[in-house]
């Protein structure tokens, strides 16, 4: 935009959050959050429902003001220079800018007008985005008839009309089926490789792993861990082998039999008759060994599988409690578990 041309330069990180607190009445949504995202990097903000992810995004996109602390986007203060922040950001995710009575092209066209692009630029930009997000065939149909995946892609396209320097995606794939989710990942990856600074929130470790350079784990308004996906996984203990015993009497014996396969103790859920064991990176070899041991003892199992660590596992490792202990995140973490690959 015109205002950015003469804007002063900023040598710090593209997104900087320092000691931000935010409360809604009695509820402490953020309790002293620090974040820094280098230009062109992707930060994944990972946590269950109610962790404060959306609050952080709302503060950074000038929708709400922090109670304490400061937040800067490309050096611009989100409170004092809110208008200047809005010039350079894009937002998509849980909210949607799509108006369902209008076609995909009309939605893009109106967005272009609101960013004061001239007619020629608007047309070109709309066509380019429709092409890039595989919406060209549906461009002139009302968006009411779009699938969930198409709507998310269009919504992302809407947030890119102005070529924002910093993009915020609040749970960009929540509610999508697995195929659309992977499609969305590809789109986001392409975007990121073009150098956009991105902050995305997610409940899925796998998603953060796929897209983010660095992951920050938040729980109840606090940052509880930060690092690359690999670092976090190492702390979690890597892959998890899970199975249920058919005869509940075999539960203790089964747990005993597999405990030698890992330095971690197996977790036993007596009620469900399930055993879970963290096995580091050696998922498949440990799986074979598990099958052999249980088989030699004559223990019959159900649903034997190796899966990647879920948000639950991360939370268990970092906080000692599951993600469910967070504010009503039960449903979220159960959904999160389904993302794990079954082998």
């Amino acid at each position: 935009m015109t205002a950015t041309a003469g804007a002063p330069t900023w040598s710090g990180p593209a997104i900087l959050v320092e000691g931000v607190h935010k409360a809604f009445g009695e509820v402490q949504a953020l309790r002293g959050v620090d974040l820094a995202v280098e230009r062109g990097h992707v930060l994944g903000l990972l946590g269950p429902n109610g962790a404060g992810k959306t609050t952080a995004v709302k503060i950074l996109t000038t929708l709400i003001e922090p109670d304490r602390g400061r937040a800067l986007v490309e050096g611009r203060d989100v409170v004092r220079s809110a208008a200047a922040v809005r010039e350079i950001i894009g937002l998509a995710g849980q909210s949607t800018a799509i108006q369902e009575e209008l076609t995909g092209r009309e939605n893009l066209e109106i967005m272009g007008r609101l960013y004061h692009l001239d007619a020629k630029t608007r047309r070109r930009r709309s066509a380019e985005l429709l092409e890039r997000f595989e919406l060209a065939d549906a461009a002139d149909r009302p968006t009411k008839g779009y699938s969930g995946g198409m709507q998310r892609r269009l919504d992302l396209a809407l947030s890119l009309v102005s070529r924002p320097a910093v993009l915020f995606l609040d749970e960009p794939t929540s509610g999508l089926d697995p195929r659309s989710r992977i499609g969305m990942w590809e789109v986001i990856q392409e975007l990121v490789s073009a150098g956009t600074t991105l902050l995305l929130t997610t409940q899925y470790l796998e998603e953060a792993d796929e897209l983010a350079d660095e992951i920050v784990v938040v729980d109840r308004g606090r940052v509880i861990a930060a690092g690359t996906a690999q670092e976090l996984k190492n702390r979690v203990g890597g892959d998890v082998i899970e199975f249920a015993v058919v005869d509940p009497h075999h539960l203790a014996q089964a747990a005993e039999a597999v405990s030698a396969l890992s330095e971690h103790q197996p977790t036993v859920d007596a009620e469900a008759g399930r055993v879970a064991l963290r096995v580091g990176a050696s998922g498949s070899t440990s799986l074979v060994e598990t099958v052999r041991r249980l088989d030699s003892l004559g223990i019959r199992t159900e649903g034997l599988a190796v899966r990647r660590p879920s948000l639950d596992d991360v939370f268990l490792a970092l906080t000692g409690h599951g993600a469910e202990a967070g504010n009503g995140a039960g449903v979220a973490s159960r959904r999160g578990r389904n993302v794990g690959h079954r082998v």
Partner: protein, 274 residues
């Protein structure tokens, strides 16, 4: 983390000059007005409320109830009815305002607009401008239908135009109330099921369809003194001839009072609706 950056001073970006801001603000209002009108034209339920329902009301009251309602105005019941039904239609047109705002909040459209470099007032002003256009069209259609079933303006062209303008102004004022309701309830379903129940007593317990004097005494006290009756009586005087002064003042005061209360409330609800 904070230790590394706390010495960094935030950059300050000068705001563009006022004139430029006003100009781009007006462009945004124009864009959003166009957007709302396009949405309106594409939405069957909005079209129903705007055209089909009022036309049904005209026919229903003109031919079904009308014969049983004695009135003492030149031209008979259809002359009495039309100003009332025009005002009622204008009031109910605000349904679209409430529903559209509730839906846009619910879906997050408003949040997205607020995160864009656009005057925050543009969304509400665009809405209001689109509603005004909508009301003009609606009122003219109803007057047209009225002409088809025997209604005639009996007081000359200028008062007739003034009646249409008063109806539109009244509708816009009711839109600010409905807008506040929509922004406060924030749920499309709730708004469409009970968000506008208050419009029923206001429009029916008024002089819109029957002379107030035909109501029981206790109801007359309300019917006589509420804003819808005042506005309709003024519209009737404009359309059919009659004393203009008293009702004009009362109408102006009522409308100004509603604006003074509900515009700030609506703006506040919009600011908080994140």
């Amino acid at each position: 983390m904070s230790a590394t950056f706390e010495t960094l001073v935030a950059v300050s970006v000068p705001r563009p000059p006022v004139l430029g801001r006003v100009r781009s603000g007006l462009a945004d209002v124009a864009t959003l007005t166009k957007r709302e009108l396009l949405i309106w034209l594409r939405n069957p339920s909005y079209i129903f409320f705007t055209f089909i329902q009022p036309v049904m009301f005209v026919l229903l009251f003109r031919y079904v109830f009308g014969g049983a309602i004695p009135v003492k105005v030149p031209g008979g019941y259809v002359s009495f009815l039309m100003p009332g039904i025009v005002a009622q239609t204008a009031a109910f047109a605000s349904f679209g305002t409430a529903i559209a705002l509730a839906r846009q909040i619910q879906k997050g459209v408003i949040d997205r607009f607020r995160a864009m470099p656009m005057a925050r007032s543009a969304v509400l002003l665009g809405r209001l401008a689109a509603d005004t256009v909508r009301l003009v069209v609606t009122v003219l259609i109803i007057v047209g239908v009225g002409y088809a079933v025997g209604f005639r303006f009996q007081n000359g062209v200028v008062p007739a135009v003034l009646m249409v303008l008063l109806a539109v102004g009244f509708g816009v004022v009711i839109c600010t109330v409905s807008g506040f309701v929509g922004l406060t309830i924030k749920d499309e379903e709730s708004v469409s099921s009970f968000g506008l129940v208050w419009l029923f007593p206001l429009t029916f317990v008024s002089s819109a369809f029957v002379p107030v004097l035909s109501m029981p005494g206790w109801l007359q006290a309300f019917a006589k003194n509420q804003p819808v009756t005042t506005v309709i009586d003024e519209m009737r005087s404009l359309a059919l001839g009659g004393p203009l002064g008293l009702h004009a003042w009362q109408s102006a005061l009522w409308l100004a009072g509603i604006i003074a209360v509900f515009v700030p409330l609506a703006v506040r609800a919009y600011r908080r609706a994140s």
